[in-house]
Amino acid sequence: MRIQLENVGLSFGERVALHTLSLELSEHRIGVIGLNGSGKTSFARLIAGLARPTAGRVLLDGLDTVEQAKALEGRTGFIFQNPGNQIILPIIEDDIALGLKSRGVDGADLTQRVSAALNRFGIEDLARRRPHELSGGQLQLAALAAVTVTEPDLILFDEPTNQLDLRNRAIVKDTIANLPEQAVIVSHDLDLVAGFERVLVFHEGRLAFDGWGHEALRFYRELAGC
């Protein structure tokens, strides 16, 4: 998917979350890093259509995320910082089915697609489990199954390895690496984005660096003074 930002800005009253920015992205893996409050999450929310730009426009494959939102429905998925909050129903497989049901899928097709989503992430055993019983890594995989079941072209991750232990971090990292879908990953986990084709470094609401993973990391470390 081709992501274009044309003179995009985002403000909340007097506070500027993102200064005017023009950018085009089409890489398979795009990392977004920066200090806290640098505008990373705002950038991802703009692309997902969860925030409306206060200036300019965001285009996905040429479609405006505000004016042509209907045409873009289901083409992007978003994995939030706290995956627990994005699992809406009390049973995992019911939650995975919810996104499909709201798009009119039912019967055998629904059952088959839910089962395929569970298989895809190796979480068949979690099908009848409740979210509050799951570990952070399991929640992340369940959230991913619920998002990918509707077959989006682009998935945006907001700090997907945040608060995960070493094992769960490795599982999530491996899962993201093998996803066939295009992904934009906002993260403080530098290992996760190091090998990416393109990494954007945000600083105080501005795009401060745009380039290869390792170069971006070097720039970011200098910026952060460590």
Partner: protein, 205 residues
């Protein structure tokens, strides 16, 4: 705790449509409320136990699931026996557990998603009248069932934090942070609903 009480199975009651089950439960409950013939009520109680057993709910499980309500019924029956007559107390002791066990069997044989689907279908006439979106009603039920355990967890975390700091745990002190953190999460849940396109077009803000 408000969790799913569904029991996996393929019994006759599992296979029965949710709407029919709820309708039958309504009719049976209404009939039992109107009847005060002791042998009939005893028969109904026996039948409710058979139905519960037929879906894999043995007496022990039934007791565990319904204990607080059964104890309340026992208290109510005792009060009626003392204040009215032993017969009135016995009627309550047969009637209410029978209704409770039939309802437990319906709950145990119906998944939450089936309940939500049924509620959504039942609300369709209201949607046609332009009063609400039927799917929202099901979604609201799902959200309540989903997040009650989370709020309970949060309450426990706040209580532990107070105890760790040596602050006496008082409900009024916990209520503020509990409400604020719940409202904060409500925003991200609303975002997730939008991002997953569950209520149709994203409500951009």
């Amino acid at each position: 705790m408000l969790n799913s009480l569904h029991i996996e199975g393929a019994s006759w009651l599992h296979r029965m449509g949710t709407g029919w089950k709820l309708f039958a439960l309504f009719v049976i409950s209404l009939a039992l409320t109107l009847i005060d013939n002791l042998p009939v009520l005893a028969g109904a109680l026996f039948a409710s136990l058979i139905v519960a057993r037929s879906i894999g709910m043995k007496e022990r499980m039934l007791w565990q699931r319904t204990k607080p309500v059964l104890l309340t019924i026992a208290f109510l029956a005792l009060v009626n026996m003392v204040l009215l007559s032993p017969r009135d107390g016995l009627v309550i002791l047969l009637r209410l557990p029978a209704i409770l066990f039939f309802a437990s069997a319906v709950t145990a044989s119906t998944s939450l998603s089936a309940f939500i689907d049924c509620l959504t279908r039942a609300a369709m006439p209201l949607e046609k009248m332009g009063l609400l979106r039927a799917a929202d009603l099901g979604l609201a039920l799902g959200l309540v069932l989903r997040f009650v355990p989370e709020i309970h967890e949060r309450y426990r975390a706040l209580r532990d934090a107070h105890q760790a700091r040596g602050i006496p745990v008082k409900l009024h002190r916990l209520l503020g942070p509990l409400i604020i953190s719940t409202l904060k999460d409500a925003d991200s849940i609303a975002d997730a609903i939008d991002a997953r396109g569950i209520r149709g077009q994203k409500s951009r803000h």
